[in-house]
Symmetry: C2
């Protein structure tokens, strides 16, 4: 298979685009496609001050790399979750993020949950009832909150995440298998700014996972390859498998599923969803963020509870 | 495993209902559940004059049997499609339907497409551009039209079909994988009567396929077991397989997918779908049925085309 642009040997064949490219032309194409997505979906404007949520995985590091190439002033944000589980997952993912930042002369802000809030995510999961002992629920809540706060406090125009089409399609399938109307309503590549919440965007949402992986690989980016050890039985990984099987049987089906949803959103009005809806005027008594809950937002009440119930930290931690 | 009602040996365990039953109690339960669905979903009223669309398969024959037991005046309608393909599929399915009617003293109306419209479904598929030579598109159009017309002409209150939860979930998955908003909007266990269209209902839409199969089996109903020979690569069969795999991995997922959709319909408004929407005042110049198309409805224009292009019928056909 030959590169459509230059005729040299292709390294990747993207069937859904009917496009085979060599390494050099793929890297150029990938950056241009990202720029096109940013403009096409009006994710953010040229010159926007961007905060990249960096996990140390291929998607977020590739995104950071691409945005820098496109000339956006962008810093990285790494949230230290304290996930060890024998594999030092958090330590190693942080090292990947830091090494990438150092190599490229980029600025990585690190927020360590245990240092700033008194417990790691696995410790927090054990003492709250959120997620029935599994850390995914408290982890999601914590990451969303801390990323949003860091972006607001840093004065960024937009917070971007590395979600790719496979991620989005798997989330969509999870939301669809139970018709979670509130989640379907809020699943979008762009969540505009609103009081207390920074603008959020997903510039890679039109790329297949194999394309973001190819970019990271061909750029020689050293990223953490395994998934979080707690995500093994996560729904999204399960639905990724299901979608990959469907994609094998019916090439293009995964992309059609996700992109047709984005189009259908214009023809669907979600009403009375209860779960989402306009935020009330109420503000959290602890942090001041708009909240649907009672006096405190979910983050503050959860972590107040965690600190009250968690065993005292060892000195020097 | 013992029958929850009488303690005898159970023949079926319905995990989603946490209910194991013996043959006798299952048959009683199945009939009562059908009645409950008819009332709960307001499908039709007691004493309604019902036309049952009968294919000769387990679902439609079981439905006909149950409705008669429930005291509804109901006749059957069989559409002869002329599908042979070496397996005499249409002849054998018609024989099953006729034998059932004769055994139970019920009245089966037969409409033979070739006799009344000049070509079998496979012949029609070859000469129209609908469905790219595959008969499923022209078959669906023809069956829907003829069933509706027979119900209207016969003065029936409602036309019922044997679609079960597996059928509906597979259709839903097909509609969802491409977010076909018009089809999502019109997928419902009840389509109310409107000018030119009889009320349509699916009394088995809450039963798993294995439950309707168990009813037919335990009642000794002789039905055609194989699928239509043209349906082998049909989307709905593919999505049934996918959903069965998901159901195996996550018991209850199939039912949750379909039933949560029915609930979500109340929270979703489908707008600007284009494909569906209120019918215009225009009527088909040939048959008088309301139509969205030009002068003729899709059925009349398709079959006019078929008769014009099909090779002359052999004498005596």
């Amino acid at each position: 298979m030959k590169c459509r642009k230059c005729g040299r040997k292709a390294v990747i064949n993207m069937r859904q685009h009917k496009l085979a490219l060599c390494a050099q032309d793929f890297l150029t194409w990938f950056v241009k496609q990202t720029e096109r997505t940013i403009h096409r979906d009006a994710l953010f404007e040229q010159g926007s001050n961007v905060l990249v949520a960096v996990s140390g995985g291929k998607d977020s590091l590739a995104l950071w790399h691409v945005l820098q190439q496109l000339g956006y002033p962008c810093n990285g944000l790494y949230i230290g979750l304290g996930i060890d589980d024998g594999s030092a997952y958090s330590d190693r993912s942080r090292a990947c993020a830091q090494q990438f930042a150092d190599q490229h002369g980029m600025n990585l802000k690190v927020v360590d949950v245990a240092a700033s809030h008194g417990a790691t995510i696995p410790e927090a999961a054990q003492v709250t009832r959120r997620g029935a002992g599994k850390p995914c629920s408290v982890c999601g809540l914590t990451r969303r909150y801390l990323m949003n706060r860091a972006a607001l406090e840093g004065g960024y125009d937009v917070l971007v995440t590395g979600h790719n089409l496979d991620d989005e399609a798997a989330t969509l399938m999870g939301n669809t298998m139970n018709w979670l109307v509130g989640y379907l309503e809020s699943q979008a590549p762009l969540l505009p700014e609103k009081p207390g919440f920074v603008r959020k965007a997903k510039p890679f949402h039109r790329f297949y996972e194999r394309e973001t992986a190819a970019y990271a690989l061909l750029r020689g980016i050293d990223y953490i390859q395994e998934e979080c050890p707690y995500s093994a039985d996560a729904k999204s990984i399960y639905y990724k498998k299901v979608l990959n099987q469907i994609e094998t049987d019916r090439p293009g089906a995964k992309q059609a599923f996700y992109l047709s949803f984005l189009q259908a959103r214009d023809q669907i009005q979600f009403t009375g969803s209860g779960e989402r809806g306009p935020l009330p005027d109420a503000r959290c008594s602890t942090c001041g963020q708009p909240t649907r809950g009672g006096r405190q937002c979910a983050f503050c009440s959860t972590w107040q509870n965690v600190r009250a119930r968690n065993k005292p930290l060892e000195p020097g931690r």
